[in-house]
Symmetry: C2
Subunit: 533 residues, 2 copies
């Protein structure tokens, strides 16, 4: 029964979807229905792309790497042809000029789809080819340069990327600064000007705070959560699964597996797949990682299920920053709170009786989880306070590269100077400095800021949740996460891409656009108390 | 890094494949290169289809059934458009008229692709739509009719299927009998006439043999492999994995998982995924099932790796019958042989010391594994001897339905009469009789014969292997399966779809077309000895 010829299956599947025209359907409504069919097909093909990616990270046997690359390339071509189909463009343009006949939701669908269409079709095939080639050679050059800690090997490739990205930005929207156009791919509606505004507030507060923390005589003990303990990884996985389910992860609409690099992916809001990774001598990393991914997963699973929204562009994540806000809200605001330590400690003592003594208190755990270690050279190892400074440094450098005020030649030195200025440390070589991140080698400019926007969105959203849910801290201490999850479903998840940018969502949820001062104050209050400043 | 907008990924993947034209490439060669690009893309998309299917059976969360159906439908549409593209048709027709400029392999690629193209494009969109609808309603009608054991509910749907299939066959090739055209989808080059020839020999030998076995006073003890024992399913899975690896299954080019219905699928010869299922009180079913699937998997993994063959139609399985021959060769000819019991017994005693006593001998095991139980009404539960009679019965009925000599009204009674005549038993109701198989409800006519062709091909191929590998029995007894696997790789697996039918392959491998007499003699010899006839 399994090997019936493909043609049969194909024919049997072809007419599953019926169009719902009736005699009262207007020409514009008919066009809108046609559009949604197209967009839903694209959404399904994107879902398949998600499966190919997940499977590659979790399931694929080693000899199948080439055949998987071929499969991804074949599907990419199909998607590209679909997304740049001139008939789709005509449909979108007609509909965007007839918005009076469309509902608000329909207008937003057309707006998001037209935006995507214009971006995709703006790039010439020459640039697309060049991008594909640089995608391979740029990454390889970065890997080799980092291995050998040799900036000179990477600089020429980086220059190629900068030229290419500027050309792309010019084609997409010549009226806006190139960096803003690039930002838009990850954080729609964001601009350099707004970022400068936000980051200058952050720098003013966080640089002195970090310096104070480092000078503090009080330093919490963390080794009992790390190398002193012995944490069976199967037990860790079971514990994290329990926590994910308690947070509201629906295992009938998703999976939890193990992979080398933890991530959240999947094929659809009804099929959200997250992965985790556990180390025997580090309880914190696996635990906070799993909670982080669960936050992403809840955003995906929580998307709007109204038929008018399903599988359409407005039901996508609003931006990378908002996606990150949902993971960081759970990882930092919830899991690093005193209340969560009350919930977590007995679980840890039960799961690891030999490593977590009965004498430890929730306060010990809270302090250990929130330790600001000796500032790290490496972004991905950084704590909550120094992390944002890592990001600001990268933002300042990459926006300078794009607007031409910084050359690739100057980059390593500027990197080191800013590290010294912001974090008080200076890398001893390019590998642990300017070459540490994959992003620029992969041509990603405008991506870094979303990490810290996520942290700030998370803090501001959480502060509003605390007002809306007066028993939130008690709930968390008791492991009752449903009220918070349902509030986020309603306020953030189900809103999808309806707002035109993160600030619009922030106004709707919290009453005001992103306020970096609130974030700085949160850090100051929390760490002054923790480090007795 | 994980949620970078899709457009970026798509562009980055677009130009991975470079065309290899040179100044000496002739126009026909250039067209052939174009063709292979198209066909390889289709192959990749079919591979993705394989992943969707595997994932659905093994990984998919329950709430994602609808989104997966949408994904399959979207991909089916893409594949259909690709496979019926008029430009592909022109290319194929031009190339098939210029075969003098092509190598033998290239000619076969064009032949197979053109055949597929002609079949797919022959069906009108009306028939395709009707087929898709019947695919759903027909299956549902069959499920309900079987539940209620009520033939009258299913008969009208079956008539619709018969009409539809006859119309399809008429469109594909009006010059041949409809049943032969349908057969071609599963067993290319096969005909009713040839099947009658084969089956009449089988009936003559096997019907009396089965009657003799039933009359035999000697009946082996099998309960120690079934309900009397207690076989931990994790231990069974480990044992079967060891056996699969010993048989040559390459775990770097495939996976072994558990699913409700065991099957072999995957995305590519480098990514072959089989699944198994184990029952605590039945050692035989899981064990023989796993060996059966490993046989299928070895055929897939063993496909030709020459660049001129890779991902092209000649590298597909030759037919369903040949695929089944590879699973049955390992399941029946190898695993049910006396030599294999010598290899298997100590493994069983080691894995299940409490259920398999030290006193059991390899002969006990051989006899128990080969027991011909009281003939079953149900095909899928039948033993090696009665199975083929179940198939002949179905073949005779379905070919009669298609050529009009049998009506749906007559079917239940004819079923029961033939059961009595061939197997000496008669079902008490339609559910355990004419309604037991899903095939007709799914519109599959011409599929059943491949099961028994597989058994006969397997026996004849294995007989040749025994001549070619003089130490085969000793090798098997010692768990040394590599010589047989490599011989099959060379003789069968790497030949793919190059032969125009199973008989052509049989002549190449064994020196003569399929000889049902050999199969009958094999059964007579084996079971006369086993049942002391």
């Amino acid at each position: 029964m399994k090997r019936i010829t493909t043609a049969l299956h194909i024919r049997a599947l072809l007419s599953l979807r019926q169009r719902s025209f009736s005699s009262t359907t207007s020409p514009i409504q008919a066009k809108y229905i046609l559009l949604t069919e197209q967009l839903r097909e694209t959404s399904s093909l994107n879902g398949i792309n998600g499966l190919l990616g997940w499977d590659e990270m979790v399931m694929l046997p080693s000899k199948a790497i080439q055949s998987r690359a071929n499969q991804k390339a074949a599907l990419a071509k199909v998607l590209y042809n679909k997304q740049t189909d001139p008939e789709l463009g005509e449909l979108l343009n007609t509909l965007s000029q007839s918005s009076e006949e469309l509902t608000t939701v329909e207008q937003a669908v057309v707006r998001e789809a037209l935006n995507e269409y214009n971006k995709t079709t703006a790039i010439t095939s020459e640039l697309a080819t060049q991008e594909a080639e640089l995608g391979t050679t740029g990454y390889q050059a970065w890997v080799k340069a980092r291995q050998e800690s040799d900036w000179s090997q990477f600089a020429p490739v980086l220059e190629e990327w900068i030229d290419l990205r500027k050309s792309c930005a010019q084609l997409i929207d010549p009226s806006r600064p190139a960096y803003d156009v690039l930002l838009d791919d990850y954080e729609k509606g964001m601009s350099s000007q707004r970022l400068e505004e936000i980051f200058s507030v952050v720098k003013q507060g966080v640089i002195p705070l970090l310096a104070d923390i480092r000078k503090s005589k009080y330093q919490p003990t963390t080794s009992w959560l790390k190398k002193e303990g012995n944490f069976d990884t199967v037990t860790q996985a079971k514990l994290c699964e329990d926590i994910a389910v308690a947070m509201g992860f629906d295992q009938e609409a998703g999976r939890l597996d193990v992979s080398v690099h933890p991530f959240t992916g999947g094929t659809h809001p009804s099929d959200v797949r997250m992965t985790t990774r556990f180390k025997e001598h580090d309880l914190t990393e696996g635990l906070t990682g799993a909670i982080h991914e669960t936050g992403h997963a809840l955003y995906e699973q929580g998307r709007n299920q109204t038929p008018a929204w399903q599988d359409l562009p407005i039901n996508k994540h609003l931006s990378m920053g908002i996606h990150e806000s949902q993971s960081l809200l759970w990882e930092r605001m919830v899991a690093l709170s005193p209340a969560f330590s009350y919930y977590l400690l007995p679980k840890l003592q039960q799961s690891f009786p030999e490593s977590i003594s009965k004498e430890k208190t929730a306060t010990d755990l809270y302090q250990a989880l929130n330790a600001v270690q000796h500032p790290s050279m490496i972004r991905v190892e950084a704590d909550e306070v120094s992390y944002i400074l890592h990001i600001i440094l990268r933002y300042e450098l990459e926006s300078g590269l794009i607007d031409g005020t910084i050359t690739t030649e100057q980059l390593p030195q500027l990197w080191n100077e800013k590290m010294e200025e912001y974090l008080g440390i200076s890398p001893s070589n390019a590998a642990e400095g300017v070459l540490q991140d994959v992003h620029w080698g992969a041509g990603l400019f405008g991506y870094f800021p979303t990490y810290s926007l996520g942290a700030m969105y998370a803090q501001q959203i959480y502060a509003t949740a605390e007002l809306a849910l007066p028993t939130l801290q008690q709930d968390i201490a008791q492991g009752e996460f449903t009220p918070l999850k349902q509030w986020l479903n309603l306020e953030v998840h189900q809103v999808g891409s309806m707002p035109v940018h993160g600030d619009e969502l922030m106004v709707a949820v919290t009453g005001q656009p992103l306020q970096p001062k609130g974030f700085v104050k949160y850090l100051e209050d929390k760490y002054s108390q923790l480090y007795q400043l």
